[in-house]
């Protein structure tokens, strides 16, 4: 078997199409580097500013991407409904924090409420995600791959409809708890909001990494991802582990939702579709199934999108979506395994 595999690999290196692919990849990277360098020398201050904005978004993308990567890692399902779960998290936080608790301006009590609602939203996300898994995906675990994928698309529509009924079809403005003040650091304007995103997202990511890497449950998750039968034989409750994974993914999406609502100040029912796709691209960029890959991918996509939207020399915001999807497609061509992942080619 190994000789066959190496034979295939050797043959691949020689073909002219492989050389063409390599060359075009180098060309594309060179163009990207040239573009960034041009902007950096043109206006370094603006470049730094755009970078800060990109990091801000990138961390949120990373939180959503984590959910995709965890779920894909364990049951090989692209959970299309995940982006809409994030949207529901944002809507839920708006309904509870802003409307029910009336926390709509910066104050000490409101910060405490924010933390409380953050926990509630994470709980909400976990609850919704596990119920979806229990109701739909679990029944389809042995079905052909097309079935759970189509189910996930259907679920995404159902969640969107819930969001639509909850807040209506127009985007809603959220009066945020976070102060809109900012300070300057070497000429770069940094929002307090950005700092708070850092302060909440980074610990969350560390906790998640801890759960997956160091705890018993985390070990069970990784074992289940590798081989369900073997882990079942080792005494792992596979169903429980998968439910736990969905709960963590949902909690991360919920956290991203409330952070999004608080920092951007708007929620809309169709938020989840675009952001979900961006986050999925991040997960693929990092290497789907790889936790650190999702974070890395999220930050890179955040930066690229920010550079595209904000830099003076560039395609501009109207091509934002196109940019992200072009990256996704190029990734599929050149490196389907992502930056930190393994190659994802089909056996045949």
């Amino acid at each position: 078997m190994t000789s066959v595999a190496s034979g295939v690999a050797r043959k691949k290196k020689v073909t002219p199409s492989a050389i063409l692919i390599k060359a075009s990849m180098v060309f594309i990277i060179a163009v990207a580097v040239y573009w960034l360098g041009l902007n950096l020398t043109n206006d370094p201050l603006q470049f730094a500013q755009v970078t800060v904005n990109g990091l801000n978004n990138g961390l949120l993308y990373a939180l959503i991407a984590l959910g995709y990567t965890l779920v894909y890692g364990i049951i090989e399902l692209i959970n299309f409904a995940h982006g809409d779960l994030f949207m529901l998290g944002a809507v839920f936080s708006f309904a509870v924090l802003t409307e029910f608790l009336g926390a709509d301006s910066p104050s000490a009590t409101n910060y405490a409420l924010l933390l409380l609602v953050l926990l509630l939203t994470m709980l909400f996300g976990a609850l919704v995600n596990t119920s979806i898994e229990r109701l739909a995906y679990r029944r389809l675990r042995n079905a052909p791959k097309l079935a759970p994928l189509i189910t996930a698309v259907g679920m995404s529509f159902v969640l969107q409809w819930i969001g639509l009924k909850w807040i209506g079809s127009n985007p809603v403005n959220v009066n945020t708890v976070l102060p809109s003040t900012s300070f300057e650091l070497a000429g770069v304007v940094i929002n307090f909001k950005t700092l708070i995103i850092f302060a909440i997202t980074i610990p969350l990511l560390i906790v998640l990494a801890f759960i997956v890497n160091k705890t018993k449950r985390g070990r069970a998750m990784r074992a289940t991802a590798q081989d369900k039968d073997a882990s079942r034989l080792m005494g792992i409750d596979v169903n429980k582990t998968i439910t736990f994974t969905f709960a963590i993914a949902g909690a991360a999406a919920g956290a991203a939702g409330i952070m999004w609502a608080q920092t951007t100040g708007t929620v809309a029912y169709n938020l989840g579709f675009q952001l979900g796709l961006i986050a999925f691209t991040s997960a693929v960029l990092g290497g789907v199934g790889n936790l650190y890959g999702a974070v890395l991918g999220g930050i890179i996509i955040g930066l690229i999108q920010s550079y595209n939207d904000g830099l003076a020399i560039g395609p501009g915001q109207r091509w934002s979506q196109t940019m992200v999807f072009t990256i996704l497609i190029l990734l599929m061509v050149y490196r389907p395994g992502g930056l930190l992942g393994e190659t994802a080619q089909e056996k045949v």
Binding site: I78, P148, I150, G235
Partner: protein, 395 residues
């Protein structure tokens, strides 16, 4: 002899369905062309409310779309979540080649330009249909080409990506490096009237337009059935059911998948041209992800792989989407005095439909025998061998 018996019933059932389709088309054409203009007002409003000819003609376009997607999803088993891209591409081919849009050029090739708008490109409608098909087939290859070697769910993502990129290109297309390629979100209007050998179908000649798109849908049905029974169709089914086994039997995997992408795209392209002619223009903001999902739902609802099932699925969903939801809503609200906004349940309806179909009737309502077997086949080696008793940890 016993082997030929099922084939015979298949042919005769095809014949029955085809007769039914022709009958329905003829009924609506004659009704709207000759009877309704003379009919009493009550009957007129009934048909205009529940079966307006505009929606009937649109349903034919949906049939074209669904059958095109059926070749990709139903026959070859590849998931495409961006099929709307082909609709858009086909529409813009019509917009580019049958309108005064490119005012710098003046090219008339058996076209039928409106008086005073002789500039621009004006091709004959048959040529536009062919070019639309070819153009989308090329795009099918471009989209499928780099990704057909990948895992099937990655392929779904890439198609989705193209389904987003191409409409965004159309919306932003008013200024591509200084050139106006697509006229942006305003779209391209004022398409030429169709001229069939001297018989001109005017802008408001709805019955004739309906007949035209029905003929296109009929042709698509015919080709779908013929393709399925042919060499290529059987290769697609083999790939859908077991890629490894199919390739061992000598089916060239890549080329066959490629063919399904290209040919499936043609359905979308021709449908796009038809739709552009129907509404007299092409408008970018119509092409979004929801359309792709509705087409997918049609294929899933009717029964993946079964041509007549997909046709019925397309008719039912397109009707619900355009008239049914509103009319049934009005009826319910009027009879029970309620005030429910039925069209706002569209998302729920399509979402639940996909979920419930996958959970309880994966093969669709009018299933194909083979698909029913495949979709309900559990992966034995994964779960059954390791039954619950072997969970040692719980004892």
């Amino acid at each position: 002899m016993s082997n030929t018996a099922p084939a015979h019933t298949a042919v005769s059932s095809n014949r029955k369905w085809a007769l039914g389709f022709t009958g329905v088309v003829a009924f609506f054409f004659i009704l709207n062309k000759f009877i309704l203009p003379e009919a009493p007002r009550g009957i007129q409003t009934f048909f205009n409310n529940w079966f307006s000819l505009t929606s009937m003609a649109e349903i034919m376009i949906w049939i074209l779309m669904a059958l095109g997607l059926n070749i990709i999803v139903g026959y070859a088993g590849l998931l495409d979540l961006g099929y709307v891209a082909f609709w858009a591409l086909g529409g813009y081919v019509a917009g580019w080649l049958m309108s005064p849009f490119f005012s710098g050029i003046s090219l008339n090739f058996f076209g039928n330009p409106r008086e005073g708008f002789e500039f621009g490109i004006h091709f004959h409608v048959f040529l536009v249909l062919i070019l639309g098909g070819v153009f989308t087939a090329i795009w099918g290859i471009i989209i499928g080409g780099p990704t057909l070697r990948l895992k099937s769910d990655y392929l779904a993502l890439v198609t989705l990506g193209f389904g987003e990129i191409i409409p965004q290109f159309m919306i932003n297309g008013a200024d591509i490096a200084g050139y106006n390629v697509t006229n942006g979100s305003q779209g391209i209007g004022g398409l030429d009237d169709v001229n069939l050998f001297g018989y001109v179908i005017g802008t408001f000649a709805l019955p004739e337009k309906f007949l035209m798109v029905s003929l296109m849908a009929g042709a698509m049905i015919f080709f779908s059935i013929r393709l399925r029974d042919g060499r290529l169709g059987r290769a697609w089914l083999a790939i859908r059911e077991d890629e490894l086994a199919a390739s061992m039997m000598g089916v060239p995997l890549w080329r066959t998948k490629f063919a399904s992408y290209a040919i499936g795209a043609v359905g979308g392209g021709i449908g796009g041209v038809g739709f552009a002619i129907l509404v007299g223009g092409v408008y970018a903001d119509r092409f979004n992800f929801v359309i792709s999902i509705i087409i997918l739902a049609m294929v899933v609802l009717g029964g993946m792989g079964n041509v007549w099932g997909v046709v019925v699925g397309a008719v039912v969903l397109a009707w619900i989407n355009s008239i049914g939801l509103i009319q049934v809503g009005n009826l319910v609200n009027n009879t029970f005095g309620t005030n429910i906004n039925f069209p706002s349940y569209q998302f729920l309806l399509f979402g639940l439909l996909l979920v419930l179909m996958m959970l309880f009737r994966r093969e669709g309502f009018i299933p194909e025998a083979r698909i029913r077997m495949v979709m309900n086949e559990e992966k034995l080696e994964d779960e059954e061998n390791v039954s619950d008793e072997t969970k040692i940890g719980h004892h």
